[in-house]
Amino acid sequence: MVWAGWFWVGIAHAVMPGSGVDVTAAIAAAREKVQAAVLYVKCERVDTSDGRRLTESVSGSAFLIDTNGEFVTNWHVVDKAASIRCLLTDGRHFDAELLGSDKSSDLALCRLRLPAGEQVPCAAFGTSDDLAEGDFVIAMGAPWGLNRSVTVGAISCARRYLGGHSEYTHWIQTDTAIGPGNSGGPLVNLRGQVIGINALGTMLPGANFGFAIPADEARVVIDLLRRDGKVNWSWCGLDLQPLRDFEHNIYFAASNGVIVAGTAPDSPARRAGVMPQDRIIRINGVPANGLTEEALPDLRRRIALLPESEAIALEIVRGGEKLALTLSPRAKGRVEGEERAFKRWNFSAKSINQFETPVLFLRRKSGVYVFGVTSPGNAERAGMQRHDIILSIAGHEITSLDALDDVHRRVTSDGAEPRVSVRILRNGRPRELSLDFSRDFERVY
């Protein structure tokens, strides 16, 4: 009731879509439409960061988008989940399976395993295009595990760029209380339509911001996940920079296009001859807009969704002269390496991935590195540290996790001497370790 009173005072003269509606009634109506479709998700996640396979429990939220049980949540909720279980608001619970997920956009599409004849409600997407600051929104989910929670707030910024999180999407910034566990839940407008997927919050005292993925951008990804099980982003190796950067006081004298900040080594862009400080004005004939950093995610997404089999025509301006270049993009592929834990050796290894560990990729394009070291453990005793790149074990060169598996199987079989010599690369320097695994740290008494 206190809430209602405040709203009434605050927005006596506000103009909102569908204005003339009593806010409390609108909130109640919106909630009615969506709450039944909100899921409380619990996953058993496989984690190897401690050097061994551990399962931890992760909880989050999701919302159903189809009566066949399809639901949308965040990638980071269902990442590496061995099992997914969902609880509906009405108390029914079901297992679920993953249909597809994408780390770059932090979205995942799953489906409930419904018994025959079981019906579930679903929510509808709205458009996030016409959102305005000050619009009221409702977040639903399970912050801190408190499922069936509903919080209300306003949109603080409809088009927010977050460095490090905005490769392909913007964010809706809202002051609706969003906490850990709200991830994957819906952000709903007063018409009862899902206009965002809650994904980020801030943990700073005094900062009441949460961030949601806009529905329009999410739908593109969800459709691709449904179709292919993943999003086949393509990659050119172009780093972009806006024409106007107030933060850093960097301005380029132009009003159209986007600046090339740099090109990744061995990338299609580098091979095509794109240079830093070039200004791209058209991509496949369509003007490119990179006026401010808020414009960059759309541009990057546009380029990354272009099929990798087709060349991209770039029109660039270099030193006042116009140039035409052709790029042949390639598939981005995995954006994180696969992890594996090794018994008896007491460490876990991960493949080196260009996007996840660029510094290690610089040292070794195809290889594995030490991801976790169990303490106490044999690898720790041998002096192995996280982020060591494994060059060879027992004389066998290691370029993949499978190769590492083979060696592991061979040397941990009975009868083999429980000590191997390991060559690693640490800080760019080769080092030798002697891994003695005669001790068994896994034995339970």
Binding site: G164, D239, Q241, E247, H248, N249, I250, Y251, F252, I259, A261, G262, T263, A264, P276, Q277, G319, T357, P358, V359, L360, F361, L362, R363, V370, R381, A382, G383, Q385, R386, H387, D388, I389, R419, S421, R426, N427, G428, R429, P430, R431, E432, L433, S434, D436
Partner: protein, 745 residues
């Protein structure tokens, strides 16, 4: 039998009645058993009873000295049992209010002769013999003896005979002290059984010297076998100032010196590495001195024109001026000549005009005589704190290089706090024109290991060696001189040595895997050669990766040094916060560690201290079990990030330094890749606002590739708008700003 009985009676009467009677009976029985005892008139300890009776305990009550004065240790010769020096300091006696006891002998009814400990008169509160007060009347410094006059009733003295000494009965002060504490019921003989005098052997003093018939012929308080008798010996008044003449002599030979140094260079960001380097290049105890710009010390005038200055080698690199104060008003500038490998001295020359002649230093070692110890310490600019006190020189020991070293004295005189600054010189007694007999040599005891592991570092012990032998260092052969220790120009100040091997410390597991646990002491010593740099001394000598570097023997060194590297836990690759660089406030930039591992390790710093250009013999353990020895010349380390030449771009508020090989290797850049590394950004400057951060690489300015400081200076000469291509590890971007005109500040 009758004779014996008579003599016994006399003995017992001498001792007193009651006890004697009781003993008479038992002695009569035992004597019957004692056949052929040479001492037919033996008392209980084997000495004639009269001798025992005349042996008394002298007690000195002592006063503490003034702070700042030498705290004298009352210690004698090296103990034959444990090899150490027993005794306490005078101050300790004063604090515990206990007396110093020593045996004395009555030579006349009122006169006692006893050992002279050279106690300062001011610190003697009172002397008692037995329980009667006594005064010091005469001193015999050359025989370390004193004559006391005892108040009260006269005492039966020793009847001295004339003759040659054949036995020595050493007094047992411990027994005498016990007797005094526990009452005569437990009386133990004050002297041990007489021992045959061996010609030339040191007598355990204090001792009574006896002839073949056990009659006293003299005393020995100085360990000599020559009997001392007070009559006819050279003596001085008790308050004679034995030390004063030596002070004048000292002023001629010991000169206050003030050294002035250049200020140390400010460490580059990544402070941690540089300070660690500094700590190992110079000895840990001298850390405080690393920042000092002035050091007061003293020098020994080895010849009329050459000074041997007492200063640790750590200060030499930044040494600028040497000022010698030949008198408080005569400050003279000396020039550096050379420093030494095995002693912490350096030679400096006085200008020819100031080279006044000196008395000649007598060669050879002096012992078993009184002398004066002159303790000097720097007091301030041009002044020395001098204390002179008489001492007795004991027999020297060949403690270093077979030089005769006076071990006892040096250790006993210097107070702990000023031990590293002060020196003790020994001058002859009574001659103000004499040259010193002994001078302090700060001998470097090299560490057992090299490389920074285990905090093993060179140690310095100051030994008193004959002054002539120290003076010989003034014109020492090249083998004594360490050419690497000398003042260096500013750009060479932190040069380190390099052999071209990237070394990984050995561990127990690795040593076991390679079957070399024994040679490496369980994996503690030794280092695996991880890689060999092209064109380096190691590469030229054919060293290969996988070999284990076991020991290094520097040129001119007496022992091989085990290679013991510091455990280098630089952590994994992702430790440097590349993606948080933007969030770190500028005032913390200098605390960021460098992303790349330090090129200058304690091992390289130690090589630098050995001297670029000098050779080392390196021994390796090969994987096949064989050993190999190579002589390698220490090369100057190639430039690395900490000493890469830097250029300040004032208008932008950024300092860029050259791209050195260690950074190129880390970033994976080829030799032709352009770029200068940002080593500092000025807070509030145009560069830092535009997002430039330390450790980024500026590859192009306004489209022109940047390769050197000269190019940078040329490109950035004018204020205006600049566009830079910047790379942060793997990501690039364009940075632009307007630089200010620095002259318009």
């Amino acid at each position: 039998m009758k004779d014996t009985e008579c003599s016994l009676k006399k003995v017992h009467e001498g001792y007193g009645t009651g006890v004697g009677r009781v003993l008479r009976v038992s002695m009569a029985v035992t004597l019957g058993l004692v056949v052929g005892c040479a001492s037919s008139r033996a008392g209980r300890g084997g000495l004639p009873a009269a001798c025992d009776a005349a042996t008394v305990l002298v007690a000195y009550r002592l006063r503490a000295g003034e702070p700042g004065e030498p705290n004298l240790q009352i210690s004698g010769e090296r103990c034959p049992n444990c090899g150490g020096y027993h005794g306490d300091s005078l101050d300790m006696y004063a604090k515990t209010q206990r007396s110093h006891f020593a045996p004395g002998y009555f030579v006349a009814p009122e006169w006692v002769v006893t050992e002279d400990f050279f106690l300062p008169a001011a610190q003697i509160a009172g002397v008692t013999v037995g329980d009667r007060p006594a005064t010091i009347e005469r001193r015999f410094p050359d025989r370390k003896a004193m004559l006391l006059r005892v108040a009260g009733a006269p005492h039966a003295p020793l009847k001295m005979a004339a003759g040659k000494p054949a036995y020595a009965a050493s007094a047992n002060p411990q027994a005498m002290i016990r007797n005094r504490l526990l009452a005569p019921a437990r009386a133990e003989p004050p002297s041990g059984a007489p021992a045959r005098l061996v010609p030339g052997a040191v007598v355990a003093s204090p001792a009574l010297l006896l002839d073949a018939r056990l009659r006293p012929v003299g005393f020995s308080f100085d360990g000599s076998g020559e009997p001392f008798v007070p009559q006819g010996a050279v003596s001085v008044a008790p308050d004679a100032d034995l030390a004063a003449p030596a002070v004048a002599a000292a002023a001629r030979f010991i000169v206050p010196v003030t050294l002035a140094f250049r200020s140390p260079k400010k460490a580059r960001a990544g402070d941690d590495d540089f300070s660690r380097y500094v700590r190992y290049r110079f000895r840990a105890s001298d850390e405080a001195d690393n920042d000092a710009t002035v050091r007061h010390t003293f020098a020994f005038r080895a010849t009329s024109s050459r000074l041997l200055v007492y200063a640790p080698p750590s200060c030499l690199a930044r040494l600028e001026t040497i000022t010698a104060y030949l008198s408080p008003s005569n400050a003279v500038c000396a020039t550096f000549a050379h420093a030494y490998r095995q002693v912490e001295l350096f030679a400096a020359d006085l200008p020819a005009a100031q080279a006044s002649p000196l008395p000649a230093i007598v060669p050879g070692a002096a012992a078993r005589r009184a002398a004066v110890a002159v303790v000097v310490a720097p007091e301030g600019r041009g002044r020395l704190d001098i204390h002179a006190l008489p001492v007795f020189l004991t027999a020297p020991t060949p403690a270093w290089r077979d030089y005769p070293v006076q071990e006892a004295i040096g250790a006993s005189l210097v107070s702990h706090d000023r031990a590293s600054e002060s020196g003790v010189f020994i001058f002859p007694l009574g001659d103000p024109a004499a040259a010193p007999l002994y001078a302090p040599a700060p001998v470097i005891r090299p560490a057992n290991a090299i490389g920074g592991g285990g905090y093993d570092s060179d140690d310095c012990e100051t030994l008193l060696i004959p002054a002539a032998m120290l003076a010989a260092f003034a014109h020492a052969p090249a083998s004594e001189v360490n050419p690497a220790l000398k003042p260096l120009p500013s750009d060479k100040e932190d040069v380190s040595g390099w052999l071209g091997m990237d070394l990984q410390p050995l561990t127990r597991e690795l040593a076991e895997a390679r079957s070399m646990l024994g040679a490496t002491d369980g994996g503690r010593f030794g280092a695996i050669v991880a890689s060999v740099a092209k064109g380096s001394p190691a590469a030229v000598a054919g060293i290969q990766s996988g070999w284990v570097l076991h020991t290094l023997t520097p040129e001119g060194s007496v022992c091989p040094l085990s290679v013991w590297l510091e455990e280098n836990d630089s952590g994994g690759e992702e430790r440097f916060p590349w993606d948080q660089l933007d969030e770190i406030p500028p005032q913390y930039f200098s605390r960021l560690p460098t992303p790349w591992p330090p090129a200058v390790t304690p091992f390289n710093a130690a090589l630098g201290a050995l001297g670029v250009g000098s050779t080392v013999t390196a021994r390796f353990l090969l994987p096949d079990g064989s050993r190999r020895s190579n002589v390698l010349a220490i090369a100057e380390a190639p430039l690395s990030y900490v000493n890469a030449p830097a250029q300040v771009w004032k208008g932008a508020g950024v300092t860029l330094c050259a791209l050195t090989q260690d950074v190129r290797d880390y970033l994976g850049l080829g030799p032709d890749a352009p770029g200068l590394v940002v080593c500092a950004v000025e807070p509030g400057g145009a560069a830092v606002t535009a997002g430039l951060r330390p450790y980024e690489l500026v590859t192009h300015i306004n489209g022109t590739p940047l390769r050197s400081s000269e190019e940078l200076a040329a490109l950035t000469a004018r204020a205006g708008a600049y566009r830079l291509n910047v790379t942060r590890m793997t990501a690039s971007r364009v940075v632009s700003f307007t630089s200010r005109d620095p002259t318009k500040e």
